[in-house]
């Protein structure tokens, strides 16, 4: 096998992986930026997305619909959770948020177990993206191409949303000084609920899209939350661009690490994190030095 085609295919592979990691990490970092809250339940929303996507695709027979319905339901649950349980805690210390969001992982996890059972559920790759293509004579799953493309589209969409819309402006301002935004006549609580819902919805979108690759299973949440934390820490807490950069870096390390150093593949991601923390303790694009 030639080196160049191989590298190209592995790069595409890494980009498709980066897309999933980005959906997972960007919500967590935005939520942290605005609310200074570590959302422990973020991985669980990813898992919830996978199961919701499974059911939506099964009931409607339409994967596109699942991509819309899953994130909306999960985002709605996230926003409702913020309004009902987090909002009363804003004047407390941070450990309260850890407890409550961790509690949510347990409750949501059990609800998912009750509704969908304990078995891993196979989600079919949508027909349009089934099969493989040959890139320089290397076989490559079409679905992974689609994932990489979806990652690019969503990243551009979020970026434009943050830069061009009023809500995007308020999200950026709130992450810099929430009290000032409040005193300028903006209901900051609405901004908080909005960003929490959007963040959970993005995680769920990641789950919907990951399900055809890895099946929807109860183990998803645990792995996902660790990946999400690593991305947020590498990218810098609260940085949108940082989460994008970190997702790509981690994906490349995972994909190439698995190939060249299979025994150390798991450790590679943490070595990368360690390296970044030594050089830039606040993360690549983080604020605190």
């Amino acid at each position: 096998m030639d080196l160049l085609p191989f590298l190209l295919v592995q790069c595409l592979n890494a980009l498709s992986q980066a897309a999933l990691l980005f959906f997972l990490g960007v919500g967590l970092t935005l939520i942290f930026g605005i609310m200074r809250i570590v959302n422990f339940a973020h991985g669980t929303f990813y898992m919830l997305g996978a199961f919701l996507g499974y059911s939506a695709a099964r009931l409607s027979g339409n994967f596109w619909l699942a991509m819309i319905v899953g994130p909306i339901i999960a985002g709605g649950i996230g926003a409702a959770f913020e309004v009902g349980l987090l909002r009363p805690l804003y004047r407390r210390d941070d450990s309260a948020f850890l407890m409550v969001t961790f509690g949510l992982t347990l409750v949501l996890g059990d609800i998912i177990r009750l509704l969908w059972g304990v078995d891993a559920l196979q989600v079919a790759v949508p027909d349009a993206f089934a099969g493989i293509v040959f890139l320089f004579d290397e076989p490559f799953p079409v679905y992974r191409l689609f994932l990489a493309g979806a990652g690019v589209v969503v990243a551009i969409a979020i970026w434009q949303f943050l830069e061009r819309t009023r809500l995007g402006l308020l999200i950026r301002a709130t992450s810099q000084n929430a009290e000032m935004v409040h005193a300028l006549g903006v209901d900051v609580n609405l901004v908080r609920s909005g960003i929490f819902g959007i963040g959970c919805g993005l995680a769920a979108l990641g789950g919907v899209l990951a399900a055809p690759l890895v099946t929807a299973s109860l183990g998803m949440a645990g792995n996902a939350i660790i990946d999400a934390f690593v991305i947020v820490i590498i990218g810098g807490m609260g940085s949108f661009l940082g989460s994008l950069l970190a997702a790509v870096l981690v994906a490349f390390v995972q994909v190439f690490g698995t190939y060249y150093f299979p025994d150390f593949a798991l450790a590679a991601m943490y070595l990368l994190m360690l390296l970044v923390l030594v050089v830039r303790p606040g993360g690549l694009l983080g604020k605190e030095a």
Binding site: R166, A183, L184, D187
Partner: protein
């Protein structure tokens, strides 16, 4: 326009405002002077709802807004220029103003604000952290005006500014007054307060203890300064 009656505010166990009475007539500038820690900033923060007052009334055109959430106070027509300016450092000059523009401005449009503050127009694409202290202060004022407020709360605008810039600031405040803006000015800088205010209030230990016009104040300045203001 803005009338404060018997305002009390506590920070935990400490009783900061102990019955503040204050009135700012429409189109006037009232200044509140006082030593550090007497409750000047707390007065503004209490009006804004950032620190909920324990008792008393804050009347805006007769409507009691005491204890309202900050965003509702702002929407009622109170604009806030905080101590330390609190510009959004990573937003551009124009974006900083737009955060304050809840609906398209009728009186203080962005275009008009950029005419009033030409230095902001020059730096409209710059980020907040790149501005000088004086430019940040003008931006904080522009961000407040763009909401077409009924009254502006200006907290220590001269803080950390060079004398020349303070003079510029005084000119801006006078200009605003000439345009009919109502202002409650909190200041340590007596010169600035004297130069722009229609009425001077002196605060000691959470109460207003002295009210006078600048003329009267000037006549009594030596005595007043010694009694209430110097440390």
């Amino acid at each position: 326009m803005l009338r404060i009656e018997g305002l009390h505010t506590h920070y935990g166990p400490s009783h900061i405002l102990q019955g503040v009475d204050l009135a700012v007539p429409r189109g006037r500038i009232c200044a509140v002077l006082g030593r550090n820690g007497v409750g000047k900033t707390t007065t503004v923060r209490s009006i804004m709802g950032l620190v909920p007052p324990t008792s008393g009334r804050v009347l805006l055109d007769g409507q009691d807004i005491a204890g309202w959430a900050p965003h509702l106070v702002a929407r009622a027509g109170v604009a806030y220029v905080p101590e330390g300016r609190l510009i959004f450092p990573d937003l551009s000059v124009l974006e900083n103003i737009r955060v304050g523009e809840r609906r398209p401005a009728k009186v203080w449009t962005v275009e008009r604000l950029l005419e009033l503050f030409p230095s902001l127009r020059e730096r409209s694409g710059n980020r907040g952290w790149q501005l000088s202290g004086g430019e940040q202060q003008m931006l904080a004022i522009a961000r407040a005006l763009v909401s077409d407020p009924r009254v502006v709360l200006l907290d220590e605008p001269s803080q950390g500014l060079a004398p020349l810039v303070v003079r510029e600031l005084a000119a801006v405040i006078k200009r605003l007054c000439a345009e009919g803006v109502t202002i409650l000015l909190i200041e340590q800088n007596m010169k600035l307060a004297e130069a722009v205010a229609d009425e001077l209030h002196i605060m000691v230990k959470g109460r207003i203890v002295y009210v006078a016009s600048p003329e009267v104040f000037r006549a009594e300045e030596e005595e007043i300064r010694g009694r209430y203001l110097t440390v």
